[in-house]
Amino acid sequence: MLTAATSPDVPVPSEDDVLAQARAGVPEAFAALVREHQAMVFGLAYHFLQSWSQAEELAQDVFLVLHQNLARIESARHLVLWLRRVTSNRCIDWVRSPRNRREVSMEVVHEPAAAARLQDPMLDALLRRLVAELPPHPRIVVTLRFQEDLDLAEIATIVDMPLNTVKSHLRRSLEVLRRKLADRGHVHGS
């Protein structure tokens, strides 16, 4: 697979083939899996923790766990689900650990000094910060919903929650985010 990427004559192997090679112990195949999914895993961890170094450590841990459990992964599709699930569980464990606790109540969000209309990069940063201040379960639901563009049933499967709980977390989170943005002078539509 890895040579295939450099040679146009050799067909590019599917991700299932790469997975099979990684399971067979080919380090390059495992490295390819890491490169393929690192932005998803690191992104989830970063948006959840809002810490570059903690997200990197957590994402590395996820891939170490993957390496130890490769035999359990049945397909490329299963791999994506497994990575999302393990990353989500690890994110929640991370903030629950007294060592890493950084939880802010849904109702307690710092007020910024200026309420002027922000430019988009600033709005993105503000949104990421407000999401990171949500409680752990609503935060992972919002992150999976908007980073991975998953529907609510898929999120419920990943985080092992009833569908109605996921719906409720998302609805309440969006209400809180809208209110906090409105407090800062951002008018929202839907």
Partner: protein, 112 residues
């Protein structure tokens, strides 16, 4: 502002720092192990309500059984008291009857 669109834009996937994959492979090569995070145990969420329900059912059953047993014991005691009262009454009536018979016998003898 469309909040959901803004969130999609703000929460895009993010590439980790350069050399991330090498660090992962380095940690694997060093033999480091990381425990698989435990999925949230569903039963813990149900344990308290189930335990409370069982306690209520067990407590209710015990109370009902105890109440029934007490009622049964009271009924048996009442029956025993009635039997005793009847025995006493019967003995008294027998004694009175013997007295009456004795008096009647004396009266008949006096007439002769």
């Amino acid at each position: 502002m469309d909040l959901e669109r803004e969130l999609r834009q703000a929460l895009t996937r993010k590439s980790p720092p350069r050399g991330f994959d090498e660090k992962v492979l380095g940690r694997i090569a060093s033999g480091e192990k990381v425990a698989l995070p435990k999925p949230p145990a569903r039963w813990t969420g149900y344990a308290l309500p189930v335990a409370a329900s069982l306690a209520i059912v067990a407590g209710g059953s015990f109370y009902f059984w105890q109440h029934e047993r007490q009622r049964q014991m009271d009924a048996e005691q009442t029956a025993r008291n009635v039997v005793l009262a009847l025995q006493i009454t019967s003995a008294k009536v027998s004694a009175v009857q013997m007295k009456v018979q004795e008096i009647s016998r004396y009266e008949r003898q006096a007439q002769y």
